[in-house]
Amino acid sequence: MNKFLQRWTVFAGLVVFWQLAGMAADDPFFPPPSDIVSAAWEWWVLEPQNVTEHILPSIGRLLSGWAIASVIGVALGVLLGRSDRAMDYAGPLLVFLRSIPPPALVPVFLLLFRGGTSMQLATIIFGVIWPVLLNSVDGARSVDVTKVDTSAVFRIPRHQWVLGVVLPAASPKIFAGLRVSLSLSLVLMVISELVGTDNGIGSQLMQAQREFDYTRMWAGIVLLGVLGYGLNTVLLAVERRALAWQPRSRDEQHA
């Protein structure tokens, strides 16, 4: 309970401050949180079609884009990480592609896919694959020599080597990449919805802004914050379960 208070005091304090400042300023650009909450209520609870038509499809694109990027990123990363030759060939290309800011590719994908879900997925996948890929390469490379030798001596089959040794050994790094990618997918989900579509949280945000409905715009921004926080919390819980085998602290280890 103490910990809970400690964690949320600053946050709650800031909301209270915002409420008071917003009420005092009475500025349409900066509505107080109470107005934002009631706007959100009207927008999403009283009109549930907004949730099913905009929020859920956005979350769907975010999660599927992230999932596809993760699968490709981990698979490719493990392959490149265990093969020096493949890395020699692909290395410069990866560094080059990674350096392109993904929003710059939105017009390209717009042309290629003529807008819509596939263009949005392409933007998300291209943008978030790099942290997963590069962390997987790093993780796969870090399998220590004794484990490589042990696996070779026991002549374990290839699938067991990849799934039973390389992946678990790389998993702490892979999870670090997955977390960065997940927060990036939220960013790219919004960016990909700003143009060429009238569907999704991003487009609703733009629309509210264009209609000078700043309370709704703020409601959208807060929703994105809540979404990001929630997704990260879920992933952290998954990570903690998946990596429970890691020696947690020095005192728990026998020397």
Binding site: T146, V153, P157, G164, V165, P168, E252, Q253, H254, A255
Partner: protein, 266 residues
């Protein structure tokens, strides 16, 4: 007795550097052979060529059986932290049916006295216990030959004695053929039925010595046994411990045989 391992004219070079040059020896079934030599004399290269981890530059290694197992010095890195102790022992047995895997792992853990730790993670155990897990894993694999690379070099002296006795007991009970690579002269005499002395650069076999000690050994009495002490000094002299000028091995060995027979008869 049939030969379990035959090594013929085995040599290996890393580029221009010749690590081992033309080694020929055999290990008989059920025998425990120690390869002893100073650090950096090519013992690891020998072990890696025998285990198939590197292809030798020349010569042949013939194993009279389908597979071998290796116990490495670095138990912490050799065990998989994401698996339980039991999972680690079952690791090389994935091709077997689940029930057989289970029973083999349980059996091997019982041999090394770790049945109670089956569900723990390796890193929750002490160093000596972790190395016992590695030994259990190797035994559960039922290798034709058990190779051990400085297996007890990373544990304290007390634990090392316990592990040495455990190895002697286990291999006696299960008739395992073992090849131990070590830099520790005392350990090689205490453990071995036979000692291969490796020296020089490139490493050559300078002696192949039978150990005239009974199969049952004891940390206190065996180590003070005259035969133990004599053999230990002989190996030490062969390895030129203490930096005395190199002896003519053949001439010295003849003299040594005389002095040995004198001590025994007196």
């Amino acid at each position: 007795m049939s030969n379990m391992l035959e090594v013929a004219d085995l040599g290996h070079s890393y580029g221009d550097y010749e690590a081992i040059g033309g080694l020929t020896f055999t290990v008989r079934a059920g025998e425990l052979v120690c390869v002893v030599g100073p650090s950096g004399c090519g013992k690891s290269t020998l072990l890696r060529t025998i285990s198939g981890l590197i292809a030798p530059s020349r010569g042949d290694v013939t194993l009279n059986g389908s597979h071998l197992a290796v116990v490495f010095q670095d138990y912490q890195r050799s065990l998989f932290p994401w698996l339980t102790v039991q999972g680690n022992v079952e690791f090389p047995l994935r091709s077997l049916p689940r029930a057989e895997r289970r029973s083999r792992a349980a059996e091997a853990l019982a041999w090394v006295g770790l049945s109670a730790a089956a569900k723990k993670r390796p890193w929750q155990l002490s160093g000596g216990m972790q190395q016992r897990v590695a030994i259990a894993r190797a035994l559960a694999y039922r290798p034709a030959l058990l190779l051990m690379d400085e297996p007890f070099a990373s544990v304290d002296a007390q634990t090392r004695f316990e592990l040495e006795d455990l190895l002697l007991r286990v291999r006696r009970e299960h008739d395992t053929t073992v090849l131990v690579v070590t830099h520790d002269i005392d350990e090689s005499v205490y453990l071995g039925d036979r000692i291969l002395v490796l020296s020089g650069s490139p490493a050559k076999l300078v002696a192949d010595l039978e150990v005239p000690l009974p199969a049952e050994r004891d940390q206190v009495t065996t180590r003070t046994d005259e035969a133990f002490v004599a053999l230990r000094s002989k190996v030490a002299r062969l390895l030129n411990v203490g930096g005395k000028p190199t002896l003519d091995v053949d001439k010295w060995a003849a003299a040594e045989r005389e002095s040995l027979s004198e001590t025994v008869s007196s």
